[in-house]
C-alpha cells in the first residue's frame, strides 16, 4: 500500500514538473533533464498500468525499462556539466577528459568482470549492470564537483538543485544496490523503500530548484590574456620546479 502511494506521488510530481517546465519555459533550458523526467514518467505510468492489468508482464518489463531510464539518467549529468562548466572552457575541458577516463575505466572493469563471472543469471547481470552504471554516475558527479571546487566555480540555483537531487538519488541507489547484492532477498523491502524514497526526495528538490530559470552566475570580464596560457603556465611550472628542487636540497642538507 505504501509503495503504491509513493509510486503515485512520484507520478504526480513528475507530471507537475513537466507541466511547470512547459509553462515556465524551463524545458528549453534543460532539454536533456526534462527528457529524462519524461522518460521516467512514461515508464512509471506504463508499469503502473501493467501492474494493475497483468502483474506477470510487469516483472518481465521492469528491468529493461529500468535500464532505459538509467541510460536516460546520463542526460542529467550532461545537463549538470553543460550548465555548471560551459562558461569555463578550460575547466570543462578537464571535466570532459576526466569523464571519458571514468567511462573507459568502468567499461573495462565491467567487461573484465563479465568475462570472469559468466555463470550469472540475466537478472543478476542486470542488477549488477545497474549498480555499475550508478558507479559511473557517482564518479562522474564526484569528478565534476572536484573540478568545481578546485577552480572555485560558482554554481547557480538550478544546477545546484540538479546536483543535490541527482546526487542523493544516485548515492542512495548505489549503496542500496550494493547492500542488496551482498545481503540478498531479505534486503528487498528496505531496498524498495530507499530507492523510491530517495527518488521522491530528488523529485521534490528538482521541483523547488527548477521552478523558475536562474542563469548560471558567470564572471563578467574576460581579459586580453586569453592567448597567453601556454606562456604563463610554462613559466609558472618552471619556477615551481626550481622551488621544489631547492626544498629537496635543503631537506637533504
Amino acid at each position: 500500500m505504501l509503495s503504491l502511494l509513493v509510486w503515485l506521488m512520484g507520478l504526480l510530481l513528475e507530471l507537475a514538473m513537466l507541466i511547470r517546465a512547459v509553462a515556465g519555459k524551463t524545458v528549453t533550458k534543460f532539454p536533456y533533464f526534462y527528457a529524462y523526467v519524461f522518460c521516467v514518467f512514461g515508464v512509471s505510468a506504463g508499469l503502473y498500468i501493467l501492474n494493475d492489468v497483468t502483474p506477470a508482464s510487469y516483472y518481465r518489463w521492469y528491468w529493461p525499462t529500468q535500464f532505459a531510464t538509467l541510460v536516460a539518467g546520463c542526460g542529467v549529468i550532461v545537463e549538470i556539466l553543460r550548465h555548471t562548466l560551459e562558461p569555463y572552457p578550460g575547466a570543462e575541458r578537464v571535466a570532459r577528459v576526466a569523464s571519458l577516463g571514468i567511462f573507459g575505466l568502468t567499461f573495462v572493469y565491467v567487461g573484465l568482470k563479465a568475462r570472469m563471472l559468466p555463470e550469472l543469471t540475466p537478472l543478476a547481470v542486470t542488477v549488477e549492470l545497474e549498480r555499475d552504471l550508478r558507479v559511473i554516475e557517482a564518479l562522474l558527479l564526484t569528478s565534476i564537483l572536484t573540478i568545481v571546487f578546485y577552480y572555485r566555480i560558482e554554481i547557480g540555483r538550478n544546477a545546484r538543485g540538479l546536483i543535490v537531487g541527482f546526487g542523493a538519488y544516485v548515492g542512495t541507489s548505489l549503496v542500496a544496490l550494493a547492500l542488496r547484492a551482498f545481503l540478498g532477498p531479505r534486503f528487498n523491502t528496505t531496498w524498495g523503500v530507499l530507492q523510491s524514497g530517495s527518488y521522491l526526495f530528488a523529485l521534490t528538490v528538482w521541483m523547488v530548484a527548477l521552478w523558475s530559470y536562474y542563469p548560471q552566475p558567470v564572471p563578467s570580464g574576460r581579459t586580453r590574456l586569453d592567448d597567453d596560457y601556454e606562456a604563463l603556465a610554462g613559466a609558472t611550472r618552471e619556477v615551481l620546479h626550481s622551488l621544489r628542487s631547492y626544498f629537496r636540497r635543503t631537506a637533504r642538507s
Binding site: 578550460g90 546526487g167 548515492g171 590574456l225 597567453d228 596560457y229 604563463l232 613559466a235 621544489r244 635543503t250
Partner: protein
Amino acid sequence: MTALIIYLLIGAGLFLFLLVMARRKNTPVEGCGEEFVQARHALRALQLGLLPANLVERIFDRGDFEYVTAESSREICKLFLAERKRISLIWVGRVRGEIRNLMHFHLGYSRFQSKLSLRTELRLALDFVLLLFACRTLQLWLYLRGPYSAPAMVGIAAGAAARVCRISEQSLAFLNPVASDSFQNDSTTGGAAV
C-alpha cells in the same frame, strides 16, 4: 565483501561532496578583473611587506637573540624567543597565504582557457600543492624547533616566493598604471580635468 566496501566508499564519498557543496560559501564571481586585482594585491604584499631581505634577516637573524642572551635575564630571553617564534610563524603563514592567492589567480585565469593543457594543469596543481606543503613543513619546523632552526630553508623559501612573484608580476604587468600624464595632456579645452 571488498566490492561492497568499494561501493559503499564511493557512495559515502559522493554524499561527502554533496555536503561540502551545501556548506560551501558562495565564491565571488566578480570576474577576472577582480582576480587580477587580488593577485596584484598578493604580489604587493609579498614583494613590499613580506619578502624584503632586510625584513627576513631581521626576523631570523641570530644576532638579536645573542644580544638579548648576553644582556638580559633568562626570563627575558625566553620571552624574546617566544615572541620571535610567533613572528616567524606569522611570517611563514602570510607567505603561504599569498602564494595561495597567486595559485587562485592562476586557477581563476586558466579555467577560461579553451587551449588549456590537461597535463600542464595536473603538473601545476601538483607543484603548487608541493610548494604549499613545503611552506607548511617549514611552519611546523619553526614551531617545533624555534625560529633559528632552519635559516637555510627560510632563505630558500623567501627566494622561491620572490621568484614566483617575479613570474606573476610579468603576467600582471598590464595592471600597472600607464603614464597618467598623457591623459592629463590629452584633455580638450574646457574638458573635465583628469
